[in-house]
Symmetry: C2
Subunit: 268 residues, 2 copies
């Protein structure tokens, strides 16, 4: 109670869906951070199917840029049966649809404990050897409000872009937590998957990279504490790129994965 | 004209959406192949926004198993503006929703030619050294109808599962084309992304792996000829796994990518 994350993503049931108030603290680039918006939608879906509180898979299509202020999330249960429910959700401002999404929710705490993975935890130096976002000069010479929501500590080998020397590997990785210390939960992970700067920074192309589509898979309830987040891209083509994100929790588990298709930043 | 792919995925506009007839030739495991169903939906979306004929991103949530026979695809344009259109689509049989999907379409041939990739083409031996699907004894001792739709030639290092010796790497790769030689196109790639057996075969767990959600990105118009297809998984947890697929065309380009979240096969 009282954490800004909970306040900023609060939704209220109305006869017309859920009302939300998009907080100006999440502005970045050309609009409101897409991960935050996914968190707001995620809350509305959770309230729609309260017995299945956790996102398993969420796909969001970003059709127009959001602005701070009032928004409405309308949800529709497509199917609720067995251990999962599938819900359609649409976030609008006035008559403009901002995001249309589909989600399958269930209860992550009810899943078997088996893990069999060849995925490898991001190899990050200790927190104290990583670089705070506030230490990195922003390429646009301003710190967007979004950056005040988080503590991020970047892998020193991934922040060359901040001084004009991007690595060119297409890799960004960082330690991550909310600024007020609010611990992660499954819905919050939807935001964490799209919180870092676009991975195209590391290709020498800073600038806004509008998301066309982002799909998140939440694979486990995250343990409290710092998260490790990595973003990679492998294929830039036709003016678009895919960005794969992984989030690992303090217990060393892969708790969330996402892939998005985004537009490659235009030269400033 | 006359190719079975075109006939089997044909949709007809009706006052209630698009009617389709799901062909029994695509039955596999517990229902009709999910890739084929995505192709049917893909055709309906293309007819909904004919000036934007190609899928850029499609996310499909599989809520119940389909049966051969009549189906209806209802589409709704969420936004059509600029170079892309976003459409919601739902495939139903009777009162049962089978698949609910979102798609962003555009014109792939109108995109810039730039490619910058670190993705590596699947390393497949020449066609004549790969193993036809018909040569691999199916673990269930039957060849599903689906297998007659394709020519698939598996990488010999990835077919140990057929003789009880899965590699355990979580990798399947094969040459692929339609049995009647129909060349690939962007909508057909939606099917190709979900045509191979589940990658869990290579983990020693043959059996049906129902898709919860699959998102496809089509990145370029494929060149004619054989395709190379790879499937990987990295994380099995909580009774689910993610499966990443890539499709490369005969010109050596990464033309489509997908990730799906699926249920791990239960012991037979």
């Amino acid at each position: 109670m009282g954490h800004e994350w909970d306040l900023h993503t609060a939704v209220e049931a109305t006869p017309d869906g859920f009302s939300a108030d998009l907080d100006p603290g999440w502005v970045v680039g050309g609009g409101v951070n897409g991960g935050y918006l996914l968190g707001v939608i995620g809350r509305a879906v959770a309230e729609t199917v309260p017995a299945k509180p956790d996102p398993f898979a969420v796909s969001a299509f970003y059709v127009s840029a959001s602005r701070p202020g009032p928004a409405t999330v309308r949800t529709r249960v497509v199917r609720d049966g067995g251990s999962t429910a599938t819900v359609a959700a649409e976030l609008s401002q006035g008559r403009d649809v901002r995001i249309t999404a589909l989600a399958t929710y269930g209860d992550l705490s009810g899943l078997p404990d088996d893990v069999r993975t060849t995925a490898v935890e991001p190899d990050l130096p200790p927190l104290e050897e990583c670089i705070p976002a506030t230490a990195a000069p922003d390429p646009a010479h301003e710190v967007p409000p979004l950056m005040e929501r988080f503590e991020m500590r970047f892998d020193p080998t991934c922040v060359g872009w901040a001084v004009g020397q991007p690595s060119g590997r297409g890799l960004l990785q960082a330690w991550f937590r909310l600024a007020d210390g609010r611990d992660p939960d499954p819905v919050q992970l939807l935001m964490v998957l799209d919180a870092l700067p676009p991975v195209t920074f590391d290709l020498g192309h800073p600038g806004w990279a509008p998301t066309i589509e982002l799909t998140a898979h939440v694979r486990a309830v995250p343990a409290p504490g710092w998260l490790k987040v990595s973003h990679r891209t492998r294929n830039v083509a036709g003016g678009m790129f895919e960005e794969d994100c992984e989030v690992w929790d303090s217990a060393g588990r892969l708790v969330a994965q996402s892939r998005q298709l985004a537009r490659f930043p235009r030269p400033a």
